[in-house]
Amino acid sequence: MPILDIGYRKWEGPRSPAWTRAWVVASTGVGLVWSSTWIRRILMLLTFPSLLVAIAFGVLEQNLSESSTEQAITFVQRNREARRVLDNAGVEVKDLRNNPAAVRHFAWSYLLFTLFRYPQAFGMILVVGLVGPRLISYDLRSRGYLLYLSRPLTPAEYVIGKAGVLYTLLFLVATIPALTIYVVGLFLSTDPWAIVYTWDIPLRIIAASVILILPTSAIALALSSMTQESRYAGFAWFAIWILGHVTYSVLWSAQQFRGQGRRTQILAENYNALMYLSPYELLGYIQKKIFGLMVADTPILTPVLVAVVITVIGYTIAYWRVSRILKL
């Protein structure tokens, strides 16, 4: 027998507006993800590439003078790979000569794109592959969706809330490190006008993050909503990225460029319809374009449209699956 039992008490108090409830789904999901030691370790591990890029920014800024720019240009002229990068971006070596601001903009963009394209993209695939498949499939298996939807939450808000978990994670993996590096670069720069010459880079970072976050979240949620077994969704997630990339690489290698002019080769190297077979290549292409590392006449509308279509289809599948279970 309790010594004191206050029993049931009435509750009265302010309530948050109904449209904010999706945030509860997202924050609960993020809390659950954060409780996993492995996810925390992976997220911590993913900060190391950012540190390397930040160091590169520091080294670059401390040596960015007219004489060192000249040395760098001489290096670029002798190095075939470096020339290729400049050619692909449509940057003329003469434009960089005696122009540290242009070198800075190009170098920062290139370093940030490299960060997005390699370590953070692989980190994203891993983190979303571990977290995404569970998001809806666990609720389908344990019928947790009934708890969510018995409150003022629509299936669309539920899906947005679940997507919010992935948005938060990808924001941590991609956007925050890139923006931090940019700020570090500004602080390490000896040129007080660096912010004036690079003001567009944060916007490019945000645009590149959006193009990374939205389609990948849509694919992950669609897969998660299609099964009660998260391992199947996880398998399908990794299969999409790995098989897509392998198929692209094989077909790309099979293509021959002999007999084509340099300009055609650069275009083909940048824009190739084969990239639609691989989400990794497609997103990489759009990000490269966003960072201005591609010749101006390469198309952007079609790849962005394809990414938008993937996003819309992904969210539609997730919404349809969640709405449908209530009708059974």
Binding site: I6, G7, Y8, W11, L32, S142, R143, L146, L147, P152
Partner: protein, 305 residues
């Protein structure tokens, strides 16, 4: 207190052409209403329709003063729902789970946690509240779902098979809590169950649903009022001996339970009853005014469906 908690009319819902609810019209008075019906009678569909979780084909009404089904979403802030299904959010502790439900109903995080502890205490969730929900027994999950249904202090509570999986003492405790909520705290409760005892124990009103139609809806007192005046006798054993003796003595009686007899007529001379019992050596345990058994009412209502 409003005269009607919910009033719905002509609600129809079918799944792929198979009707689940057919022209259901209901008035739910305040207090505890038992929703009875055999499996597949449409109880869960009706509950989900009330919550706006399933889209009805036709019908309309007013629930807690809101236009239904148009305002079903707003309504859900004022309704607590304990689902029949075993449902939980994997990985969350019990207390986090209740807190999350409070936040989904609009409580701010800190207040939601305080309130979650308060209802966990009320629902007898002790230190188990700090365990992850997937480790809970069926009984504990029922308590957790009950706490989740109450955490935002709803005016109307829908309980779908709340006593499933509870041992007898837990069941009695839960029914006590339900009574407290209705009688002392003024909550209106819709209790969907298969267990007639639970309905008799706590409900004031009963709705019997069968084949997607409302077969019976009235107060329990009215439903249990006998169609003919008479008395009810309970005996310890050998009810058939007493029955034969009473028939010989000119009484019009019928069996109404395992060791129970219903004697029709008014007034009844109790001296004659005692005499008959003494003659056959059958001990009478209880004599009370006759009433219809809920079981019989239920069977009559669903017969032929």
């Amino acid at each position: 207190m409003p005269e009607r908690i919910a009033s719905i009319e002509n609600v129809t819902k079918s799944y792929r052409g198979r009707p689940a609810l057919h022209q259901v019209s209901l008035d739910l008075p305040p207090g505890i209403t038992g929703l009875l019906g055999p499996n597949g009678s449409g109880k869960s569909t009706l509950i989900k329709a009330l919550l706006g979780l399933v889209k009805i084909d036709s019908g309309h009404g007013i629930v807690l003063g809101y236009q239904w089904p148009r305002d079903a979403r707003t309504l859900r802030d004022r309704v607590g729902y304990l689902p029949e299904d075993d449902c939980f959010i994997q990985g969350l502790q019990g207390i986090q789970s209740v807190q999350m439900m409070a936040r989904l109903s609009g409580l701010f995080a800190k207040e939601a946690l305080r309130r979650a502890h308060e209802v966990c205490d009320f629902c007898d969730l002790g230190q188990e509240r700090y365990r992850t929900v997937e480790t809970y027994s069926t009984g504990m999950r029922q308590k957790l779902k009950f706490a989740q249904a109450l955490v935002h202090d709803p005016d109307f509570i829908i309980l779908d098979e709340p006593t499933t999986g509870l041992d007898p003492s837990q069941r009695e405790n839960l029914l006590d809590r339900i009574s407290v909520l209705a009688l002392e705290k003024g909550k209106s409760i819709l209790l969907s169950t298969h267990i007639l005892h639970d309905v008799q124990r706590v409900c004031e009103n009963v709705i019997i649903l069968a084949g997607g139609r409302v077969r019976l809806a009235d107060s329990l007192t009215n439903l249990q009022r006998p169609s003919q005046a008479g008395i009810q006798i309970s005996v310890v054993a050998e009810v058939e001996k007493l029955e034969q003796q009473l028939v010989k003595a000119g009484f019009h009686c019928e069996r109404s339970g395992v060791q129970e007899l219903k004697i029709h007529g008014h007034p009844i001379e109790t001296q004659a009853l005692w005499r008959a019992s003494q003659e056959v050596g059958v001990l009478i345990q209880r004599i009370e005014p006759a009433k219809n058994s809920l079981e019989q009412m239920f069977l009559n209502a669903v017969r032929g469906v």
